[in-house]
Structure formats: structure tokens, C-alpha cells
Amino acid sequence: MGDAVISTAVNVRPPLSSPLEAARLMLARDIRLALRKRGQIIQPLVFFAIVTTLFPLGISPELSRLRDVAPGVLWVAALLSSLLALEFLFRDDAHDGTLEQHVLSGQSLAWLMFAKTAAHWLLTGLPLAVMAPLAGLSLGVPAASLGGIVFSVALGSIALSLIGAIGAALTLTVKRSGALLSLLTLPLSMPVLIFGARATELAIKGAPYGPPLYLLGALAVLGVTLAPLAAAAAVRISLE
């Protein structure tokens, strides 16, 4: 119903730029905006650092014991901090009506969602992957395994951003949605946690960590193909 109205309105406008071009513009815009508000990028990283500090304090300062739990600690902290970062994905845009304009723009919303999620990953997932080795070192992880940690967090956080985008889009209109958002996204993120922690564990042991990494890649590909569609549908529902 709403779609038909939109498409007739579009016909009288000048031709739209291609979906890819629109997505590129969206990506550039989101990154530029985020770089102007650096707190948004830094806060989840600080949160990640603090959470990984809590574990040695809570368990034991012995590096040998920490090394055993390091994969779980790193991944639980990464999961929580990506959850925290979801706050910034749509909230501001929804608040000032920009998101509504995106929906009305006539552009494919799924492509725009893909671009937004990609920007979000570049701004939160990738820095997390860069940050993870530092946290790993503080947990007594051997230096040789750091490459594996970076790869697994980088790949895993793609899927986390995409799953999170669906959850964030669904809870757009919900006030104080933090707890609900975690209830929606965490169960869906369990496979990422399992494979990510496994890849990290294998990397720490010095074993080949390819297989779980490939599975993380598979999850990311599945997410890239399906999640933007679901997120677009969810944004439409939240704004209608």
C-alpha cells in the first residue's frame, strides 16, 4: 500500500542514482558523521577493554589460567561491546527523521541498510579486531596467535553487526530498548560466539584455525545476503 504511493511519487523526480552509488554515499556519510563524534567509536572499545580487565580481577591473575579462558573472555567481551555499539546504528537517524527520509527516498532500502551496516562494522567491528590482540596479550595469549585473533574477530563481527542491525531496527520505536535488544540479538549470535571462540582457541594453541574461520565467513556471507533485507523490512515496520 505505502510502497505504491512511494513509487508513483518517485516517477516524477529526476532519475535516482544507482543502488550501489546510493550505498556508497550512505557509507561515506555514516563514516563522516561518526568521525565527527569520536566518542561513539571509542566508547565500545573502552567498554571492551574494561570487560576484559574484569575477568583477571574476577578469576585470577595467573596468566596460565587466564590463557585457558581467554577465547571465551575475548568473545563475550566482543559480543557485549558490539551490542553496546548498536545504540549508534539507527538511533540518531531515527530521532531526527533522517531514517524516514531514507525510507522515502525511493532507493532500495536493503542496499542502504547494507551500507549502514558496513559503515557500522568499519567503525566498531574493525577497531574491535585491532583492539582484541591487546586484550589477548593482557590475558597471556602467545604473540604468534594474534593474527588468528584479529581475523576471527574481524570476520565474526561482520555477522554480529548484521544480526544486530535487525535487532536494532526492530526495537527502533521501543523506549529503553537495551535489555530487549540483548534478548533479541544474543540468542541469534550464539553460532558466531561458538565458532569465533573456537577459532581463537585453536589460534592460541598454535593449531590450524581455518575451519571455524571458514564457518565464521559462511555466517558473514549468509548475513550479508539476508540480514539487510530483514533490517529493511524491520525499519519500514518501525517507521510506518
Binding site: 530487549l180 533479541l184 541469534l188 553460532p191 564457518l215 530483514a230 523490512a233 515496520i237 510506518e240
Partner: protein, 246 residues
């Protein structure tokens, strides 16, 4: 009446309300009879297991509820998808009615599984892949209900929760297999083998009867909840007064 007409009638709340009212006793009675006979056959007539003794009998509640927990989720997701695609209010109402039933079945499956685990493994909770994915499924149900209850606007709650249900059903197999894989790396295969091919007929038949009984029970509960859901949604409609007046 052609199929198309029949399908269109499914979109009409008064029609579905009356239809559900008529069907409920059939499902409820057949479920009651089957479950009563299945319980008797399973708890009394079936022989004790040579390894687990009498303890295995909890399977007659555990397995059907575990089966229903997944089946209700699939039903919910299919109803939600129908509601999303054809904008059918009744389908959304059906999906919404499924969730509490499914969550209850999942909870019963978890509790009975944990009690069984206490007897078999000596511990109430074991990170067995089946129990773990059942627990995650329980969280998925809670998320679905949480999202619904967080939204005041019924239509938005319907459509948003429908997207979540569809996303969830895509994830259920992935979660299940990743948990199985995760578990097989960390511990030896558990002693419990649910799908023993050598299960004698005297044990298997009551299980199948219970399975059918629980499926019909779900249908009966769904119809009752669906009627309640329709009453809530259509409370300002005029046909309601006729339908509920004695």
C-alpha cells in the same frame, strides 16, 4: 466451496472465531484421550528399560514436549510469514497465540530433561547439545514475546515480531548444528541416545501416541488462544456482542 474461497474466509475474524469454537472440543477430547492412553501405556504397560530401569519413562513427557517446542516455533514462523506476505490479521493473531504455548512446551522439555539428566548423568544440568539448543530456543521465544509486549501498537507489534520469527526460524538450524558441533569438541558423546533404533514396539507405540496427543493438545490450545486473541483485537466490532452473548 473452492480453495480460494476457503482461504479468503480464513481472513475473516467472525468466521475463524466460530470455526475455532466448533473445532476446539474435537481437538481437546482427542488430545485428552490419546494423552491419557499414552501415559497409561508408557508409565504402566511398557516394560522397564534394561539400562535405565524405570527412569526412562520420563521420555513420554520429555520427547513430545521437546518435539512440540520446535514444531510450535515452525508453526509460529509460518503463520508470521503468511501474516507478513498477505497482511492477514488472523495469521498474525495465530503467530502471537503460538508463542506462550511454545515457550511453555520448551520450559517443560527443559525441566524434564534436567530431571532426567539428574538420574542419568548425576547432575541437573549438562551442556548437552540438545539441552543447550533447547535453552536457546527458549530465549528465542522470550525475545519474541518481549518484543510483542514492548510495542503498544498492535499492528506494528504483529509485523515486527513476524520479522523476528522469520529471522529466528532461519537461525534455528544454524544454532542447532553449531551447538552440536561445539559440544562434540568439548565432551565425549553423552550416554543418552534418544533415537535408539532398537526401541521395542511396547515402548515406541506409547511414545508415538503421546506425540500425536501433544500435537492435538497444541492445536486445541492454539484455537482457544486464537479465540481470545481475536476477542481482544476485535473488541470494538459489533459481531463480538452476538458471538459472546449466551
Amino acid at each position: 466451496m473452492t480453495f480460494k474461497q476457503w482461504f479468503h474466509r480464513l481472513g475473516s475474524p467472525p468466521h475463524v472465531y466460530a470455526f475455532a469454537e466448533r473445532l476446539t472440543p474435537w481437538f481437546a477430547w482427542s488430545a485428552a484421550l490419546l494423552i491419557a492412553y499414552g501415559a497409561f501405556a508408557g508409565l504402566v504397560l511398557a516394560p522397564p528399560d534394561y539400562q535405565q530401569g524405570e527412569d526412562y519413562r520420563i521420555i513420554y513427557v520429555h520427547a513430545p514436549t521437546a518435539w512440540m517446542s520446535l514444531m510450535v516455533y515452525s508453526t509460529m514462523a509460518v503463520a508470521a510469514a503468511i501474516g507478513l506476505i498477505w497482511r492477514m490479521k488472523i495469521a498474525h493473531a495465530a503467530a502471537a497465540s503460538c508463542a506462550p504455548i511454545g515457550a511453555s512446551f520448551t520450559l517443560v522439555a527443559l525441566v524434564t530433561g534436567s530431571l532426567w539428566g539428574q538420574r542419568m548423568w548425576g547432575t541437573y544440568w549438562e551442556w548437552d547439545p540438545r539441552l543447550t539448543s533447547e535453552l536457546i530456543l527458549f530465549f528465542l521465544y522470550l525475545g519474541y514475546m518481549g518484543l510483542r509486549s514492548a510495542m503498544d501498537d498492535m499492528q506494528r507489534a504483529d509485523r515486527a515480531s513476524a520479522v523476528l520469527a522469520v529471522v529466528g526460524i532461519v537461525n534455528v538450524p544454524i544454532i542447532h548444528y553449531s551447538v552440536t558441533w561445539w559440544n562434540s569438541l568439548h565432551q565425549a558423546p553423552s550416554v543418552m541416545q534418544l533415537a535408539r533404533p532398537t526401541m521395542p514396539a511396547s515402548m515406541l507405540v506409547p511414545l508415538l501416541i503421546m506425540l500425536l496427543g501433544f500435537t492435538l493438545l497444541f492445536a486445541a490450545l492454539l484455537l482457544v488462544r486464537l479465540r481470545a486473541e481475536i476477542l481482544t483485537r476485535e473488541r470494538s466490532a459489533s459481531w463480538i456482542r452476538e458471538a459472546v452473548s449466551p
